[in-house]
């Protein structure tokens, strides 16, 4: 029995106990009998599992600061290149709405068909914000090789060749964006 237990980490035992704690009065007795090597930790964890919290009081200053710090860290690391690569097309077609551009432009970003150097800074910044990422991360993503999305690939009877990267202006024209809008996007400060 002990030989089997040696393979189970203390963390797994304690969290299994935590998950079981509400299931009956004898849970602590049972775990103490089965895992005597973790007895002190099981007793101390029981204390935490019985701790009472008042959910109705308003959060204090220190709690608000704590939450803000956690949220800031979550946002700072919000979207990596890896998660952009894994994101569905809809994430990009939704994000492109902040620029009031057609979904074809969003798909072009997702497929990395746009030459990063041709992108105005304002466009990059707005799209990065909508994607919950930084402009640096977005540029790193766009620098990767082009990749046809699954939806587009399935429409073709033959395996499509990887699309080439083209200037942003070309993507806008192909998507039917009018000249005035293209001009304002490309020359926006």
């Amino acid at each position: 029995m002990m030989a089997q237990h040696s393979k189970i980490s203390a963390d797994d035992v304690l969290r299994a106990f935590a998950m079981d704690f509400d299931s009956g009065a004898d849970v602590l007795k049972r775990y103490l009998a089965e895992y005597p090597e973790h007895s002190a930790a099981l007793v101390d964890l029981s204390r935490e599992l019985m701790r009472e919290f008042d959910d109705e009081i308003l959060p204090g200053f220190d709690e608000l600061a704590l939450v803000s710090a956690g949220i800031a860290r979550l946002k700072k690391n919000a979207t990596s290149v890896r998660s952009l690569r894994a994101a569905p097309v809809k994430v990009f077609t939704d994000a492109i709405k902040v620029l009031s551009l057609p979904i074809q432009v969003g798909i072009a970003f997702r497929e990395r068909r746009i030459e990063a150097a041709s992108l105005p800074h304002q466009v990059l910044a707005k799209l990065a914000e909508a994607l919950q990422t930084s402009t640096d991360t977005l540029l790193s993503f766009l620098a990767l090789p082009t990749e046809a999305t699954v939806a587009r690939a399935r429409k073709s009877a033959v395996k499509p060749a990887a699309p080439e990267k083209v200037p942003f202006e070309r993507v806008l024209r192909d998507a039917g964006v009018d000249d005035q809008r293209i001009s304002s996007l490309l020359h926006e400060e």
Partner: protein
């Protein structure tokens, strides 16, 4: 069909969400994103429309990148912060740097798990979908171990096997801090928690086991008694249990609650 949890129990079987959480998630999946964002702001479980933290976590883990997921994650982090003891006691007059560090560590750990799960499924988050409060309790325990051991909180026992003074015996009489009638009152439970926190480690452990109806001593060697688990004589355990009772009684009387 909800995504299954992947974490396995020590016996090799799978963890599952509770049935009521599964049903809640199914129901919430049909409402608009804006309504869900409003409902997750409700703080008290008694409020109509309250969303459990287990269900909230499910939506955070399974929503696409974007502002909606961010809003849900913000509320989830605030729920974590609510489940870590404040740096002041219920009287609002004690500030502890160690408690602040524990609070930060618990919240930081949870943010770490969320970030890790975004990169690749992190099965450690599954615990929080099974029982959010219990998983946070385990995190508090981990942080306590690290921080209180740094502070060397082990108090010297002033009466290892000493006699309980007649004064203490008279003081506690038939007092029971875990009187079911008192425990029904939320304010009493909050004050009792504060009072137990102030006890030496041995006395806290004795009370935890006493409350779980573990016998002080047993003639059956297969039965885990408080004496056996803590490696102390029956007399020592009884002495410190009574001392703990006397401390709690004095402390709670000062608060005017008994």
């Amino acid at each position: 069909m909800l995504r299954h949890l992947r974490k396995l129990k020590p016996d090799g079987s799978s963890y599952f969400r509770r049935d009521k959480v599964e049903a809640e998630i199914q129901a919430l999946a049909g409402i608009a994103a804006a309504e869900l964002e409003l409902r997750v702001c409700l703080r008290a479980i008694s409020e109509p429309g309250f969303v459990s933290s287990e269900a909230l976590l499910y939506f955070v883990r399974n929503s696409a990148v974007g502002a909606h997921r961010d809003k849900l994650a913000e509320m989830l982090i605030s729920r974590v912060a609510r489940k870590v003891p404040p740096v002041t006691n219920s009287g609002g007059d004690t500030v502890s740097l160690t408690k602040m560090n524990i609070r930060e560590e618990v919240v930081d750990h949870f943010v770490d798990l969320l970030l890790s799960d975004r990169e690749e499924y992190d099965e450690r988050l599954d615990y929080y979908e099974v029982n959010f409060n219990a998983a946070i309790a385990a995190d508090r325990h981990d942080a306590n171990v690290r921080h209180w051991s740094h502070e060397n909180r082990n108090e010297e026992l002033d009466a290892e096997d000493g006699e309980l003074s007649a004064k203490v015996e008279i003081e506690i009489g038939d007092y029971n801090p875990f009187d079911p009638d008192e425990l029904d009152k939320k304010i009493y439970r909050l004050l009792l928690d504060d009072a137990i926190d102030s006890l030496p480690e041995l006395q806290r452990r004795i009370l935890v086991m006493w409350r779980q109806e573990i016998p002080i001593e047993s003639s059956d060697p297969s039965v885990d008694s408080i004496s056996k688990v803590l490696g102390k004589s029956e007399k020592t355990i009884r002495t410190h249990r009574d001392k703990a009772f006397a401390s709690l009684k004095r402390r709670l009387e000062r608060k005017g609650k008994i």
